[in-house]
Every structure is written in C-alpha cells, then in structure tokens.
C-alpha cells in the first residue's frame, strides 16, 4: 500500500500548526502535446534542492531557483533540502534529478531536444502562496521564453 503522506506529515510535524494541503477539486487545465515527444523540446524541473557547483544553497521558505546546465555531471551537483533523506540522491543525483538519463533519452531520439538549462528549486517551502505567486510564474516565464513544448517535473 502506498504511504499516506498527508496523515504521516501531520504526525511528523505534530508540534506545528497543521499544514493546509493544496486541494484542487476542479478538473485540471489541459494542454495537449502538440507534436510527438520525439520532436518536442522538453525541460526538466526538479524540486529536490539540487545545486550546481558553487551555487549558493537554499534556505527554509526559499522560493528561489537555480539554473542547472544540461551538461552538468554528477560530480558538479550538490543538494540542500531538509524534508527528505538525501543520502542516496547525494550519491547519485539521478535519483531525483535524472539529467544524465534525459541526455541519454535525447541522444536515443526518445525526446526531440532536452532544454538547456534545467531548473531546480527546494520543495520544502511551507507557503503554497509563495510557490503559486512567486516561484511558479517565474519558471513558467523562463519556459515560455525557451519555447519548450513540455516540462517534466520531479518533485522531491
């Protein structure tokens, strides 16, 4: 049975004010893929707190993001995140930020083009409003400017 994270988070953070989860009941907006994936430009976004080389780390309630060159190697990526156990992802960032795998899928023609850069933020932000009103529009703006056809979001 999949873990029920909402009740477990309530227990784990029982010393805090109960978190108000985002609940969207309306049918979500729909943007069909306009061309096959093999011809599409795909951007990668990860919220696992990935950092490139000497980029400054994230902080609690940090709604900033980092640009990660698509050529970044595992050795060049670090992590700052407080909300999950990061040991495995530190040993191999592809556990939460599969840039190397996406490069391979680009080379194999599964995706038309992997957008450069990829985008990284730290998902442990308490304020959903901050994400909705500050972070998401900024990244959406970047994606529009980069003319991507689709983005692949890996939350962590």
């Amino acid at each position: 049975m999949p873990v029920e994270y909402i009740p477990r988070t309530r227990e784990l953070y029982s010393g805090y004010k109960p978190y108000r989860w985002v609940v969207n009941e309306a049918t979500p907006p729909w943007a069909p893929l306009r061309k096959p994936l093999a011809q599409s430009k795909l951007a990668m976004i990860g919220s696992g707190g990935i950092l490139y080389r000497d980029q400054p780390r994230f902080h609690r309630e940090d709604a900033s993001y980092r640009l990660i060159p698509k050529s970044a190697t595992e050795d060049e990526l670090g992590i700052w995140h407080f909300g999950y156990r990061t040991a495995d992802a530190e040993a191999d960032p592809n556990c939460v930020f599969p840039l190397a795998r996406l490069r391979e899928l680009e080379a194999a023609g599964v995706i038309g083009e992997l957008a450069d850069p990829a985008y990284s933020f730290m998902g442990g932000v308490y304020s959903a409003r901050k994400i909705r009103e500050e972070l998401a529009p900024r990244i959406a703006d970047e994606l529009h400017k980069a003319h991507v056809d689709a983005f692949y979001l890996v939350p962590a």
Partner: protein
C-alpha cells in the same frame, strides 16, 4: 512524477506518474542507470498516453519484492534529520562550494 500518491491526488495536476518508492528516489535507485532510464522513459510516455486531465498513471515498480516494511516505517518518528547548528551548516556549505571556487 510522484512518490506521494495522496498528495498528488489532492493537488490534482493535469498528468502524473506514480512510482511507489521511498521519498528521495522518485526516478530510481542510486547507481542503477538502466532502472532510472526506464522509469523516466515510462514517465515521459505518459505525455502521449494520458488523454484525460487529472490522470495518475501508477507504474509497477516495487522497491523491494521481499520487504514492504518501509511502507509502514518510512517517514515516521525520527525520519527528519536533526537540524545541525548554524555554524556546522555553514561549514558544510563552505566546503561544498570551495570545491569549485579555486
């Protein structure tokens, strides 16, 4: 991509793919590139197969076929690492960055 099914059901994104792995492994286990590639590939395939907004595709990957205990014990009790004192955190940060600022 998600490993937290109930949270994703509540958020209700247009498309999602669920992998039942512990948090921090949404796209696979460390140093298993074939597994990671297959998971990412399966996830991307959903761009072309999902046609109803709000669909969550559940992928068949199992973390450990002999042990499902993690589902009961993970993300409970002492899951969250203790917060290091600020000086320690600053030191770790400095060390990480200094590797690239020579």
């Amino acid at each position: 991509m998600t490993s937290a099914l109930d949270i994703t059901q509540a958020v209700n994104p247009p498309r999602a793919v669920f992998v039942n792995y512990p948090l921090g492994h949404q796209t696979g286990k460390p140093h298993q590139p074939d597994l990671q590639r297959q998971i990412v590939r399966d996830a991307l395939e959903a761009f072309e197969t999902i046609s109803r907004p709000g669909t969550i595709v559940e992928l068949p990957y199992v973390w450990d076929v002999n042990d499902r205990q993690w589902e009961t014990t993970d993300y409970t009790g002492d899951f969250l690492p203790p917060r290091p004192p600020k000086e320690d955190a600053d030191l770790v940060e400095e060390e990480r960055r200094s590797r690239f600022t020579k």
